[in-house]
Amino acid sequence: MKLRLHRFALIGVHVLLAGFALLMLLPFVWMLTASLKTKLDFFESLFFPGGNGLFGVAWDRLTLENYRRLGSELAVPRAMLNSVFLASVTSLGATLTAAMGGYALAKFSFPGREWLTSLVVSALIIPAPLLLAPGYQVLFQLNLLDSYAGLFLPALAPPFGVFLFRQAMLHSVPAELIEAARIDGAGEIRIFFALVLPLVRPMIGAFLLITFLGVWNNFIQPQVVLQSPERLPLSVAINSLRGIYGADYGLIMAGTLVSIAPVMCLFLLLQKEFISGLTQGAVKG
């Protein structure tokens, strides 16, 4: 009796979760189908246009026209390249500086270490909006407005990253190994790159992805710092599509889809590292 009840409950759980998963996926599916439809079909059908084809769908009415227009008429390919460039360079640079900083705080004992560690930890609490206006003024004074350096340089000091790498190195880089390498005559820089970094590989993957996502999805920073249209990343460029092509829903959905597809693919490749990196600090404390 109890077992049967348990069985029914388990089926119920499956149904409930599947239903919720469907709800979560619907916006994605809707966006995909909208991007494949003409303007007219967008208004006439919710997902696929009805017809006599397989599954009652008029497959021949679907079109790649919206994607073609994104590629040829609009500045979307250029913005995509800008985003790829900015996100790659920033995530590589920020991961390197964060790993270096974390290494110094975790594996060396020197005067000022405790003080610096608490500085990094307290910096975690500074909300980004507080630095928005003064940061803009600093960029103005350094003559970095409307340049990629103005976006890239400030991102090179992530307190969160330094903290994450410090934790990772405390756990997975044994001091004996470093000392042994020193006795063998390895230089400090070689020890870092050849010995220490490979030991925290999962954290490198996680932090690269976290930073890449953050830069790719960042809107307020490029919106404030950049002015030249040819420098804009996807987030800002896609948002401005709506002002020009407001009622062209298929085109807008195609643009949005193209903007989120690359990070989705990247995530699928690196998802294990990403989730473990995200939850590591939270659970292990």
Binding site: F42, P127, A157, F219, G243
Partner: protein
């Protein structure tokens, strides 16, 4: 403890040149000083100034803060932000925990796939969520109204979510975006709950609720606290989602105006970086207070 055996550790410390840690710290320290510490001190002086763009300013003392107190737009923004925060956390945290509990059930099939599905929206940037949901919430042709009208024929397909219920739309979009992320945190915590303890309790006749209340809940309390704190911190910084959703505006009657949106408008559309900094300090003060409160509560419960 540290000084009991001064000889051994000292010897090994001496093995590296004294400048080594500083070499590794230099890039971080230079950038951090230039782009975090300097703006941080700047934001203090700025909040006592009125500026006209980044170049021209005049000293106004506490004028910005005095003006804030009687600025109806600031209060409107505070009100909207608070409503969004409370509604969002109240809806999001129980739902995320519920999903995690269901997903953690032994014997469940397709766990990895479901987790991926629930988590995937949190990869989508706020701007892109705004673009997508602006159309999802559209009158007549939008996904939401069409579905609601199909399920409940009495539902008016011309209902304007982004006109009449902006905050509800925001809460819904944020729910879609973040519930999976919060679920992942809970799921990671649930995996730390010892399974044999639960088994022993159910053999002893503990009901599902008793097992949850006395075994699971104490174990996931720190993570629950963290999820609540992070949700509040994130909600307080809400800007891109309403801004894009409402087509680069604060919406009809400023119904979607949030604190950070007001900061952006005053600082970068009006050009008063001083007033914007004052708003920034108010946000910071609230968040720091909450973080300290959170730490105190967590310490007490330990």
């Amino acid at each position: 403890m540290k000084h009991r055996h001064p000889v051994l550790p000292r010897a090994s410390i001496r093995a590296f040149p004294a400048w080594t840690p500083w070499l590794f710290l230099t890039p971080f320290l230079v950038v951090f000083t230039l782009f975090t510490l300097w703006p941080l001190t700047r934001s203090l002086t700025l909040s006592f100034q009125q500026t006209f763009g980044p170049g021209a300013s005049r000293y106004v003392g506490l004028g910005n803060f005095q003006f804030l107190l009687q600025d109806p737009l600031f209060w409107k923004a505070t009100r909207n932000t608070l409503i969004f925060t409370v509604a969002s956390v109240a809806l999001q945290v129980p739902l995320a925990l519920g999903l995690a509990l269901l997903l953690n059930r032994p014997g469940l099939r397709g766990r990895a796939f479901l987790r991926l599905v629930f988590f995937s929206p949190s990869l989508v940037g706020l701007v892109f969520v705004g673009m997508l949901f602006a159309l999802v919430f559209e009158k007549r042709t939008g996904l939401l109204n069409t579905l609601l009208h199909t399920v409940i024929p009495a539902f008016d397909p011309d209902f304007g979510w982004l006109h009449s219920s902006i905050l509800t739309s925001l809460v819904l979009a944020a729910l879609w975006l973040y519930v999976g992320l919060n679920m992942v945190y809970f799921l990671a915590a649930l995996q730390n709950v010892p399974a044999d303890l639960i088994e022993a309790a159910s053999i002893d006749g503990a009901t599902a609720w008793q097992r949850f209340r006395h075994i699971v809940l104490p174990e996931i309390k720190p993570v629950a606290g963290l999820v609540v704190l992070l949700s509040i911190v994130g909600s307080f910084q809400l800007f891109e989602l309403p801004w894009v959703l409402l087509d680069n505006s604060s919406g009809p009657d400023n119904g979607g105006l949030t604190l950070v949106m007001y900061l952006y408008q005053t600082g970068f559309l009006t050009g008063d970086l001083g007033y914007a900094s004052a708003i920034g300090w108010v946000i910071t003060l609230v968040l720091v207070t909450l973080a300290l409160l959170h730490r105190r509560i967590m310490r007490r419960s330990e």
